[in-house]
């Protein structure tokens, strides 16, 4: 990946209000050169509005959008030089694949010879050179998506914006194109800004994810960082699945604390450099289902909860269990199905165990 080709984007206090409704609320975000950033959030979280503001289709009520430090907020979309892949692709139905890809070059007044060479290069990039003379409706969904990508990249845009680029495809094709999209990003080395509500897509594609809810930026960071250290309950819940354990902080120390939840006392180890929690304060822990193990007779773990299986589901690769525990309420756990120590049945007594660093403290979201 060459960092020289990409451009850096910055959002400064971006807001968008429609009457009383605040679609985007004071969002500040930096996108580095050549970075693949995903705006992730449920519908109505403001992610698409932010993308449309970056593209120039929505004028922000407040704040600024900067490209390499230059304020581009007042520029109309056609002056921004950003490539965009629209939801549903928005290919021009009256133009062939080659004409679609040539469109951005045509409106820039490029000569036919230069145009043809560029179009060929862009179609090669997405492996569609053989389809140049077809009409969009003669292509499959995946091929249309690749034409949209070629069209958005052919004019060497400063940024590539993607609005739910894979949402119209079936699951298998989506996984394939995810890999292609990631490989394409590496090949062209440009800055990509992607919008999705699909957390798996966000995790697998992005260098960095920005999680939005109710128009606010909740947390931004590398996928692993967000998954392992979610800042709030919303992030932990939206990105993957999570159990939430609530209690009082006891024995607070720089490296960890114990959470008193009813009669249970759970050991929590904090990562290096994490701020210690105040003794006696309320705390919420996020505990990922896959970090919980099923303990055999005589096995020990730093934290143990006993209970009975309420319900279970077989998912091929694993089992998903709902366990009613004595002190901690209902806990979800997933375990590999292959060589599972137990055959789950409803009502079966089990012991769940997890290490002290498995759970991470999170904040409650502001309403």
């Amino acid at each position: 990946m060459s960092d020289t080709k990409g451009h850096a984007l910055a959002l400064r206090g971006l807001s968008k209000r429609y009457g009383d409704f605040v679609a985007v609320n004071d969002v500040s975000l930096e996108v580095g050169k050549g970075e693949f950033l995903t705006l992730l959030g449920p519908s109505g979280s403001g992610k698409t509005t932010i993308l449309m503001a970056i593209a120039g289709f929505v004028a922000p009520s407040d704040g600024a959008i900067l490209l390499d430090g230059r304020d581009i907020t007042p520029l109309p979309p056609e002056k921004r030089d950003f490539g965009m892949v629209f939801q549903g692709y928005a290919l021009f139905p009256h133009m062939t694949v080659a004409e679609n890809v040539a469109f951005p070059l045509r409106v820039r007044g490029m000569s036919k010879a230069d145009r043809d060479a560029k179009v060929r290069g862009a179609l090669d990039l997405v492996q569609l050179a053989a389809f140049a003379d077809r009409l969009p409706k003669q292509l499959s969904g995946g091929q249309q998506q690749r034409v949209a990508l070629a069209r958005a990249l052919v004019f060497d845009p400063a940024l590539l914006l993607l609005d739910e680029p894979l949402s119209a495809l079936d699951k298998k094709l989506r996984a394939e194109l995810q890999e292609e999209l990631k490989a394409l990003h590496q090949r062209v080395g440009r800055t990509f800004v992607n919008v999705t509500h699909d957390q798996e897509e966000a995790l697998s594609l992005s260098d960095r994810i920005a999680i939005l809810n109710h128009g606010r930026l909740v947390q931004a960071g590398a996928p692993g960082e967000l998954y392992e250290r979610p800042r709030t309950r919303f992030v932990a819940d939206f990105l993957g699945k999570s159990n939430f354990l609530e209690g009082t902080v006891r024995g607070a120390a720089p490296g960890g604390f114990a959470l008193e939840a009813g009669a249970a006392r759970l050991a929590v180890r904090l990562p290096d450099g994490a701020a210690p929690l105040a003794e006696g304060s309320r705390s919420l822990l996020s505990l990922r289902p896959e970090k919980i193990a099923l303990l055999a007779e005589g096995d020990a773990a730093e934290n143990v909860a006993e209970g009975r299986i309420l319900a279970f589901a077989y998912l091929g690769a694993g089992f998903s269990l709902r366990v009613a525990t004595e002190h901690l309420g209902e806990i979800r756990a997933t375990l590999p199905a292959w060589k599972s120590p137990i055959a789950p049945t409803e009502g079966l007594p089990v012991r769940l165990g997890w290490s002290a660093d498995a759970a991470a403290p999170v904040e409650e979201d502001a309403a």
Binding site: A55, G56, F57, P76, P77, E78, D81, F82, G83, M84, F86, Q87, G88, A90, F92, P93, H94, F103, P104, R106, V107, R108, L135, P136, K137, R151, A152, F155, L161
Partner: protein, 281 residues
């Protein structure tokens, strides 16, 4: 329908009444018109010879074609602008626009023709206003000529031009226009390269509709032409009702029907209908 999917006797019985109705009241008179045109006053193609020999017949045909082409062009131009404005309007404004387009259709064509006479005649509103403003010294000849006919016909035809174009414009995905701008096209280019080509099926449909409709126009040209400028329909009525020249009248009627069929055939051939009408995907 039988199991094999072929229509059985029952199916034919069901459409028989409609079929008979069409044959008796529609097909039979047309065949009769065709028959008269080659038998009156005597058997032969004598009436059709007039197409090549009679300058009066040729003048009527050329006048009709000229008026129809001008009317179609103007109705398309005005209709396109209106349909475009309606497409871009907010949903509420759109309802009012469509109402405004449709209201003239509910007013009798006779009333509208006389209304235009009132406006355009020598002492009409238009001439009087222009005279009083001192812009002209003499009243302009605005009616009882081709100009008057075209004004009345365009007025009548604009709604028919608007509706097919409007439906074709509303099928255009607004995201395509946004995409075009996002890819660097100015507003003008978006219109020229994306909106206009995608609305073309509607323009062609409107054009064919208005042109064919105009060819057979009778009341408007009769009133606004004042008997001086003759179009085909009025000429036919003149031959049959006033001059009792059935042969000549039915010949022209046959030519009119053939002209309409040829127009339809040509347009369904020149225009690749599948490409244009299937382009909405």
């Amino acid at each position: 329908m039988s199991a094999a999917g072929r229509p059985g006797a029952g199916w034919w019985l069901l459409i028989l009444p409609a079929f008979l109705l069409l044959v008796v009241f529609y097909l039979a008179p047309i065949v009769q018109v065709l028959a008269i045109s080659v038998t009156e006053p005597e058997f032969g193609l004598e009436n059709y010879e007039r197409l090549l020999t009679s300058s009066a017949v040729q003048r009527v045909i050329f006048t009709t074609l000229r008026i129809c082409i001008i009317t179609t062009a103007l109705a398309l131009l005005l209709g396109y602008a209106i349909a475009y404005a309606i497409t871009l309007a907010s949903p509420r404004a759109r309802g009012w626009w469509i109402l405004a387009v449709l209201v003239p259709l509910w007013i009798s064509v006779l009333v509208r023709a006389f209304a235009w006479v009132t406006l355009l005649r020598r002492q009409g509103l238009v001439n009087n206003t222009l005279m009083e403003a001192g812009l002209i010294g003499e009243p302009l000849p605005l009616v009882w000529n081709e100009f008057g006919i075209v004004v009345g016909m365009v007025h009548y035809m604009v709604p028919f031009a608007v509706l097919p174009m409007l439906s074709s414009m509303r099928e255009i995905d607004p995201r395509l226009l946004a995409a075009a701008r996002g890819l660097g096209a100015s507003r003008g280019e978006v219109f020229r390269r994306v909106f206009l080509p995608l609305s073309l099926p509607g323009v062609i449909a409107s054009g064919v509709l208005v042109f064919i409709f105009s060819l057979g126009f009778y009341i408007t040209p009769a009133i606004l032409g004042g008997g001086k400028t003759l179009m085909v329909a009025e000429w036919i009525s003149l031959q049959i009702l006033d001059l009792i020249r059935w042969g000549l009248g039915t010949m022209m009627a046959t030519v009119l029907v053939v002209a309409i069929l040829v127009t339809l055939a040509v347009f369904s051939r020149i225009v690749d209908l599948r490409r244009i009408f299937g382009a909405g995907a």
